[in-house]
């Protein structure tokens, strides 16, 4: 139960980080924090409901996080090569 509380707090912290960080990498880092908070919630719920399925889902989350990080960081590197920055406030050309 307390770990659900921890998960909620971490999730909120991650959201705060996503909003305040301006470097793409750090935004990404905060997203990982939120993802992890979700995994934590799943694991504690697995405990509370007695279902292993939730743990399996967490495994998948971790696998997907790996894939996502690979692609995401790849994108960041590619953008950095072109624009010499990873500041998302400066990267506004996508808006049109």
């Amino acid at each position: 139960m307390i770990w659900l509380l921890a998960s909620a707090l971490l999730f909120s912290l991650g959201a705060y980080g996503v909003l305040t960080r301006r470097t793409a990498i750090l935004v990404f880092l905060s997203i990982e924090l939120m993802l992890n908070a979700a995994a934590l919630a799943l694991v504690s719920l697995a405990r509370l409901t007695g279902s292993l399925d939730a743990q399996v889902v967490v495994l998948f989350i971790i696998a997907m996080a790996a894939a996502e990080v690979a692609v995401g960081l790849g994108l960041i590197v590619a953008i950095f090569r072109r624009r010499e920055t990873t500041n998302i406030d400066e990267l506004r050309q996508l808006r049109w």
Partner: protein
């Protein structure tokens, strides 16, 4: 009174002429077009006369508009008017065959002329107010077209427009009267209105208002003060137009309308007073203006104004049949007067200034005879037509109030004066112009002969009761107008009035006959200057009404642009708001995320609280 389809035929005949001449006028050609038009009008006259002898007729097309029939009705009142319109109209048509000879728009002229007769007959015969209104506006249209007949001259086109617009003011009164009567009684059929008004059960003041609206309509059409300004300008049209429309028939339509609605007006002191006052003003205004004019047609036009004033006074004092009587006699002598003027103009090759005339007695002996009779009848010399009808009016005004009688006597003295002035300036003295006068062709003389006969003798259909105890016209008309009993004057009073009126007419005619042959005194020249300009009423209207209204139109026009600007302002306000919103979408990713977060919070909140 029979239901017959011949009645619309009376209207259809001249209308047919309008259509035929309008479509194929040029092919029909010069004399034929005129004769065709004339005989169609004669056909209407004969048909109408025959139906009148049958005791009247009516024709109805029910539910022409919801609740409003298209109904025509030939009773004694409309019968008399029908006789005048088609009879005098026929004569003027004939005369115009000669007068319009050689004009480029010959067939167009007769086509319009027939349109006028058709519209006037609808006006006269209509039994349902909207039908009357069709004729009412129809004659207005014909008048507009004919005043502006020579429309390439700007003045003519302006005059035509002015006539139409001023008439429209009166038409508004007519329209409002219809609205009011409909809301009061739920019918616009005159014969039904008579019954409903008799039945009672309505507010008397409201009915009075309806009468007032009708009066406004009549003022416009009959050119009474203050809407008289269009009539003198209407002389821009060809002379037959002036004779037919602006003297004999159309301008009397207002009087006819009031007489037709005598059942509304009767016994309403306010309306009666207004009508008398307006008529009196018009009688004096017309007479005084006429004394100052130099244009022969404007002289006669103002005399028409004055005579119309007489008719209004007659209506006002409740002498409805007398008003019609005066319409009849006036139609004859005024048409004669106009056509004599026209013959003179024709003889002088278009000259209209009386200062370039004179001495026509020698050059145009036959026309001179017509002119003399016209002037004397108009001046009220006994026993010509004008005397009897004017005397009848005077007798009734004496019943209304001796002061009114005195004023009217003065007005009729002025009438005698302007008639003799016209005669003297045109026919006596030496010829002052340069053209070579020539007598008119027979086609112009014969109608004048007939009209002269009328101007001499038509007064005998309505002699005072002291001479002919049962005169013909009064009981004949009363069948249609309604019986409005009044106390007859004592015999000796009546005789006194007749003699006084005759003496005044003779005296003034004689005095004027000498006065206008001598050089005019200084005071008269000054008066003449003011009278020439119609006492500056036109100028007054222009400065007080027309120009401000035009300026206001300009102002409103730019204001309307401003209105659009206002909406545009509203638009840019919205645009500004949109701009503000657009700045939210300026690519600040984290701001979008904030919105995302807030939405998430709200959604979760909803989920949690539900």
């Amino acid at each position: 009174m029979q239901e017959t389809v011949l009645l619309p035929l009376i209207v259809a005949l001249p209308l047919l002429g309008f259509v035929l001449l309008g479509l194929w006028g040029r092919r029909i050609g010069e004399p034929a077009a005129g004769w065709l038009a004339s005989f169609l009008v004669l056909g209407s006259f004969l048909l109408g006369f025959w139906l009148l002898l049958q005791g009247g007729a009516k024709w109805t097309l029910a539910e022409w508009l919801p609740g409003i029939p298209f109904s025509l009705r030939l009773d004694n009142l409309s019968g008399v008017m029908l006789m005048v319109v088609s009879g005098v109209g026929f004569l003027i048509h004939l005369w115009a065959i000669g007068y319009m000879h050689g004009d480029a728009g010959y067939s167009r002229f007769f086509s319009y002329f027939n349109l006028f007769i058709a519209a006037m007959l609808v006006l006269v015969l209509g039994d349902s107010l909207p039908v009357v209104f069709i004729g009412w506006e129809g004659v207005g249209l014909a008048s507009y077209l004919l005043i502006g007949f020579w429309y390439t001259e700007r003045v003519n086109a302006d005059s035509a427009r002015k006539a139409f617009i001023v008439n429209r003011i009166g038409d508004l009164g007519f329209l409002l009267a219809m609205g009011l009567l409909w809301s009061m009684f739920g019918t616009l059929s005159i014969s039904e209105l008579v019954e409903k008004v008799e039945a009672g059960g309505y507010s008397f003041t409201t009915l009075s208002l309806a009468g007032f609206f009708l009066l406004i309509g009549a003022i416009g059409k009959s050119a009474q003060v203050p809407l008289m300004v269009w009539l003198p300008d209407a002389m821009a049209g060809p002379t037959p137009v002036s004779a037919l429309i602006h003297a004999a028939t159309m301008v009397t339509a207002g009087v006819y309308l009031l007489v037709r609605h005598a059942f509304i007006l009767h016994g309403d002191a306010f309306l009666a007073g207004s009508i008398v006052a307006l008529g009196l003003l018009t009688a004096f205004y017309g007479a005084l203006c006429s004394l100052g004019q130099w244009d022969i047609k404007r002289i006669v036009a103002y005399t028409t104004l004055s005579q119309l004033g007489f008719m209004f006074v007659a209506v006002g004092v409740g002498a409805y049949w007398v008003a019609i009587f005066h319409i009849v006699t006036h139609a004859f002598f005024k048409a004669l007067m106009f056509m004599t003027s026209g013959s003179v103009i024709h003889a002088l090759g278009g000259e209209q200034d009386v200062r370039q005339m004179g001495g026509m007695r020698k050059h145009l002996p036959i026309t001179h005879r017509h002119g003399l009779v016209a002037a004397l009848a108009s001046g009220g010399l006994p026993p010509l037509a004008g005397f009897w009808s004017k005397d009848a009016i005077l007798a009734y005004t004496f019943e209304y109030g001796p002061w009114l009688w005195a004023l009217m006597l003065l007005a009729s003295a002025l009438a005698a004066l302007y008639s003799i002035r016209w005669y003297v300036l045109v026919f006596l003295g030496e010829y002052r112009g340069k053209a070579h006068p020539h007598e008119s062709p027979p086609v112009m003389l014969w109608p004048n002969h007939i009209l002269m006969g009328g101007a001499l003798g038509v007064g005998f259909i309505g002699l005072p009761y002291v001479i002919d105890y049962k005169n013909f016209l009064e009981p004949f008309l009363s069948k249609a107008i309604g019986e409005f009993p009044h106390e007859k004057l004592p015999v000796w009073t009546e005789w006194t009035l007749i003699i006084v009126s005759a003496l005044v007419a003779i005296g003034v005619l004689l005095w004027g006959f000498r006065f206008f042959q001598q050089p005019l005194p200084q005071w008269y020249a000054r008066f003449q200057q003011a009278a020439l300009n119609g006492f500056y009423v036109d100028m007054l209207y222009n400065t007080l009404l027309v120009n401000p209204l035009k300026a206001l139109a300009e102002l409103l026009f730019s204001a309307d642009r401003g209105l659009l600007g206002g909406f545009a302002g509203l638009g840019s306000l919205m645009g500004g708001l949109g701009g503000l919103l657009a700045r939210l979408e300026a690519g600040a990713l984290r701001l979008y995320l904030l919105g995302f977060l807030l939405a998430l919070v709200l959604l979760l909140l909803w989920g949690v609280l539900r």
